[in-house]
């Protein structure tokens, strides 16, 4: 059954918690750092064979013919499959459900308001290759080397076609067409907001500032490349897939669709995952292919991507071209905002989450009464894009916080005072923005004050002088952010309290490094009034986990804690009835507190485990596992994590080299369940944003359309020695939307990082005439920007 929980909560009082709020060490770490993790490639089955993909070397090419006759005769080769084979076998396509569809999401449409053409995702294409690295054929052989050898002998007759990598080029007349169904490549075009009110506000404004920001494409590079092990059981007709993801349940349904089989015949196993950041949220063709091949060959089939393959074919992140305009009154009051957000979805639409989530947040943390956003998207001959850590929000916050700094400078306002004047105040909460989105709670001004104090903002001039004496320049930056956390609305918990003194919680979220085994146990233990060490968290097997929305959009702690809360509330009612029955008294005569059921005015009491023993005893020959409860809930109300960042950078103007010397992050993640885990998330989240600001870029050769940042030699991943020691603080404002008051951690700091770092670099270089720097602000780019400004 599904309960629509009451969505207005006075967050549970702090005194109710013993474990929640404490920096409990992660219980999963010992397993993970001593080689006992269970990652996909750790699973091997007797008789297992190996799959290798033949990938397109062209960004765009017609597939005229695939000749695998020679390859098929090579030693150890079991099969070679092409798109025609998939079609002949009646396989379907991967339905990615790319359009965000919770009640809080703005509804994206095709140009003219119709249904969006997604670009069908067959397991192997029959017509064209649409990006470098797209799988064209699959070789299955006894060994990896034999598969690689044979793959080199699969002859694909490609007819290279004109390519287009840049969305701004793809929308021009005469650009190469990626899908015949969408000749001009524009697959999404939707406007939100009040055009008339926005136009009127701009017309009356004293000042209008306009800027354009390309938010470059990056890739997630999780430590564990994507992998899949497929098995088929002839007797039962069931498929089993081991594959790392953010939630096995969603994948099960989509893989079933691609194979055209009943979802009940698919079992997906996902235990430890070595990093995700969004790229593993979506189904990959190899998942379907290894299952299909396992059935056809009658042996388990393993695929493991190399790092090179990952760089070419992992779903990538960002790639938004945003043009924004800010209208201000003479005194600096923000009047209106316009944004045109053009997303590069790549060769087909895998997800519109980045575009959809960013659009209603273009006005960020500020009181901007009128606003309009055009959310549109174009196909290109590049790897598809997908949600990447803080999907869609860093892009729009970057544009907003950059244009505010620019406005302050051009119009002579102090950038902090200008922000303070226009920030949504805590008195205005819950605040509904110009797109009808309601921010649940927060104290933005307090966060800003905390950050300014921690950064010693006012002591900047003295530090800057000292840095000048060393021949460098110091710059400082500030950025506020608000982001949204929505995610799949349904979650389920199955809880068993055993007579042996253990509590088992089965949940449909999927940790990919976030420490759920620790933090979910803390929540369960405190809500039951027991020790956290008695709680086991179970996930990752779709035969056990029947439902669940997975981990994305910062939903896991919020949904899991709410489902756990609901389950325990239900279980309490049942437990009181059980105790009343045993004791022969009315339920009203039983009180509950601190994990104990007590006879009012009497001496009799039970704890949870004693009740579990009674329940098992009463079951006789039936289910003796103890107290059991299943609880599903739906929660459609989004929450809005928020906060800010301040940073300082030293810039060597001769070489363009930038070093971050100070970084302060203040985040309102709602209630902090485990500050140790949240701090770790904050650190990683800052590094993710710093990587985009300074180094990371999926770079395409402008002459050939070839991706050139295909390894860590050219792709600048952030490293520990490039980061300062972070200064972090929480401004904990519990959300009223869920019982624990949880918002979300782990994505907010990324959201602010792009803007705050670029703001600081521009601040350092302002008197050289630099007023913007495209990302990544590599030394070369910084030097070039200085040079361009100097003329």
């Amino acid at each position: 059954m599904t309960d629509e929980l009451e969505l207005k909560f006075d967050a549970l009082a702090v005194g109710a918690f013993k474990s929640v709020g404490r920096p409990v060490a992660r219980r999963e770490d010992l397993r993970l750092i001593t080689g006992k993790g269970r990652f996909t490639d750790d699973f091997n089955e007797p008789g297992q064979v190996v799959a290798v993909l033949v990938r397109s070397p062209y960004p765009h090419a017609r597939i005229n013919r695939i000749d695998s006759d020679t390859a098929k005769q090579m030693p150890g080769v079991l099969a070679i499959y092409t798109g025609e084979d998939c079609r002949a076998d009646g396989l379907g396509i991967i339905s990615h459900s790319p359009v965000p569809s919770t009640r809080s999401d703005l509804k994206l449409t095709a140009p003219g308001g119709g249904a969006i053409f997604e670009g069908p995702h067959a397991l192997l294409p029959v017509d064209k290759a649409r990006h470098v690295g797209e799988g064209i054929a699959m070789v299955v052989a006894e060994s990896h080397r034999q598969a690689l050898d044979a793959a080199e002998h699969v002859r694909v007759d490609y007819e290279p076609l004109p390519w287009v990598a840049d969305s701004a080029v793809a929308i021009r007349d005469g650009a190469p067409t990626v899908w015949d169904e969408v000749p001009n490549n524009v697959c999404v075009d939707t406007r939100f907001g009040d055009t008339a009110a926005t136009d009127a506000a701009f017309a009356s404004a004293a000042h209008v500032i306009e800027m354009e920001f390309p938010i470059q494409r990056v890739t997630a590079t999780p430590l564990e490349p994507r992998a899949a092990l497929g098995q088929y059981d002839e007797a039962s007709g069931r498929y089993t897939l081991n594959a790392g993801s953010n939630g096995a349940v969603t994948h099960k349904r989509q893989i079933a669709g691609a194979l055209n089989v009943d979802p009940e015949n698919i079992r997906v196993l996902c235990f430890d995952v070595g990093g995700n950041f969004g790229t593993k949220n979506r189904v990959y063709v190899e998942f379907g292919l290894v299952l299909w091949a396992a059935r056809k060959i009658g042996r388990p089939v393993k695929f493991l991507a190399t790092r090179s393959e990952s760089f070419l074919s992992d779903y990538q992140g960002r790639d938004l071209l945003t043009r924004v305009e800010l209208a201000l009154d003479a005194d600096g009051t923000f009047l209106a905002y316009r944004a045109s957000n053009l997303s590069n979805v790549g060769a087909r639409i895998v997800s519109l989450s980045p575009l959809g989530k960013g659009a209603p947040l273009v006005t960020g943390s500020y009181r901007i009464p009128a606003a309009e956003v055009r959310a549109w998207a174009a196909f290109t001959t590049t790897t598809p894009t997908q949600a990447y850590r803080s999907s869609g929000r860093p892009e729009v916050i970057h544009a907003l916080e950059r244009i505010i700094d620019t406005a302050a400078h051009r119009l002579g306002f102090d950038p902090i005072a200008l922000r303070r004047k226009n920030l949504v105040s805590s008195e205005e909460m819950p605040y509904t923005n110009a797109f009808g989105i309601t921010y649940d709670s927060g104290d933005y001004i307090k966060s800003m004050d905390i950050a300014l104090r921690l950064a010693d903002w006012d002591g900047f001039e003295a530090r800057a002088l000292a840095v000048r004496e060393r021949g460098l320049r110091l710059g400082r930056g500030f950025a506020n952010y608000v982001e949204s956390s929505i995610g799949a609305p349904r979650e389920r918990v199955d809880m068993t309290i055993s007579p042996a003194g253990r509590v088992e919680v089965v949940v449909g979220t999927q940790p990919t490094g976030q420490g759920h085994e620790t933090s979910f146990a803390q929540v369960t233990a405190d809500l039951l009034g027991i020790d956290a060490n008695a709680v086991d968290i179970v996930y990752g097997d779709t035969d056990i986990v029947a439902e669940g929305g997975g981990s994305h959009s910062g939903r896991s702690m919020r949904h899991a804690s709410t489902a756990i809360y609901g389950a325990i509330e239900k279980l309490k009612v049942y437990a009181i009835e059980l105790a009343a029955d045993v004791w022969g008294i009315e339920t009203q005569a039983i009180g509950y507190g601190d994990g104990r059921f007590v006879e009012t005015g009497g001496a009799r009491r039970f704890d949870w485990f004693e009740l579990a023993a009674l329940e098992a005893e009463r079951a006789g020959g039936g289910d003796q596992r103890g107290l059991r409860i299943s609880h599903s809930h739906e929660m459609h109300t989004p929450v809005f994590p928020n906060g800010c960042a301040a940073c300082e950078v030293e810039v060597d103007t001769e070489t363009g080299f930038v070093r971050i010397t100070k970084y302060v992050a203040v985040d309102d993640v709602g209630r902090v369940i485990n500050p140790l885990i949240v701090d770790g998330q904050t650190h990683g989240s800052i590094a993710t944003g710093a990587g985009q600001a300074l180094w990371e870029q999926c770079y395409t050769d402008p002459d050939s359309g070839q991706p050139l940042s295909g390894s860590f030699m050219d792709y600048g991943i952030p490293r520990a020695d490039e980061m300062p020691s972070f200064i972090t603080a929480f401004n904990e404002v519990p959300s009223p939307t869920n019982p624990l008051g949880v918002k979300s951690g782990g994505e907010g700091p990324t959201t602010a990082a792009l803007a705050v770092i670029i703001n600081a670099i521009v601040d350092a270089l302002r008197d050289l005439g630099v007023d913007d720097i495209p990302m990544p602000a590599t030394p070369f780019q910084v030097w070039q920007s200085i040079r361009d400004a100097q003329g």
Binding site: R145, L694, W695, Q697, L708, S709, G716, I717, P779
Partner: protein, 268 residues
């Protein structure tokens, strides 16, 4: 990787004999470039002749005017040796700045110069310091040794045995790292040797080269101020996502100036 034979000779003569017997064979020193290339199937030697056990390739001879380092000397050994640091600190700096600790434990002097990666550090060190390369056949000056992109004058069956570095009056090496790989986007060795001022540049072009314009200026006046206002030509320099020819030319001037200041500061 493709399949290959693996042999481990004990002497230079044996190693050369094996190489002559198999045109597809390659020497294996530290393998820091060769092995990753093989794993990516970009190199397919029929045979690897592992030089680890070859006698004499790790011998050093340290004098006041020259230090001679065996070709199989690991970067770590060179970086940590007091006898190197006290004589040519710039050489210690070069070795200590290559790759990461794993690479420095495996990678070798001979492997690096024979490979002649256009962004490698050792070629700049040899060319800047005016070193001499001793091979199984002859002695070659650094000026002769390095050819184009990944190319040297070494014959197929010629093995680098040692490198002799003259101790300079003063020298310094500075590199500006590429963000991803941390290889030299540009690396500059500035040295005042007994035979004059030498400036060698790596990373900027298709191979290591001497910046004669800078050498001339420094020969007249060995101070950073002597290089101010010199416009380095971008002609022939590399263009890629990490830097334009103009940026590389500019960095060459900046690094040369800073290296000169450093050479003066830590004169030894």
């Amino acid at each position: 990787m493709y399949p290959f034979e693996y042999v481990r000779p004990a002497s230079v003569e044996e190693a050369i004999g094996l190489r002559r017997a198999d045109a597809g064979a390659q020497w294996l020193a530290g393998g820091m470039t060769l092995l990753p290339s093989m794993k990516l199937r970009l190199a397919a030697p029929s045979q690897l002749i592992d030089l680890t056990d070859v006698e004499g390739l790790d011998e050093w001879s340290i004098g006041d005017e020259h230090i001679v380092l065996g070709s199989m000397s690991s970067h770590r050994r060179v970086a940590e040796a007091d006898e190197v640091r006290t004589r040519i600190q710039a050489l210690s700096t070069v070795a200590a700045g290559i790759g990461d600790p794993q690479v420095r434990n495996r990678g070798t002097l001979g492997g690096s110069i024979a490979n002649n990666d256009p962004a490698a550090d050792y070629p700049a060190a040899l060319l800047g310091l005016g070193a001499t390369i001793r091979t199984s056949q002859r002695e070659i000056s650094a000026d002769e040794f390095f050819k184009d992109f990944f190319e040297t004058v070494l014959e197929d069956d010629e093995l680098v045995v040692a490198v002799s570095f003259p101790v300079p009056r003063r020298a310094a090496y500075l590199k500006f790292r590429t963000p991803g790989s941390r290889y030299a986007l540009v690396g500059v060795m500035v040295a005042e040797t007994r035979d004059g001022v030498r400036v060698a540049v790596t990373g900027a072009g298709p191979g290591v080269y001497r910046a004669t314009q800078l050498e001339t200026a420094l020969a007249e006046d060995f101070r950073p101020e002597a290089l101010v206002g010199l416009d380095m030509s971008p002609d022939g320099l590399n263009a890629d996502m990490h830097g334009s020819p103009e940026y590389r030319a500019h960095l060459t001037g900046v690094l040369a100036r800073r290296a000169t200041a450093q050479a003066i500061a830590c004169e030894n």
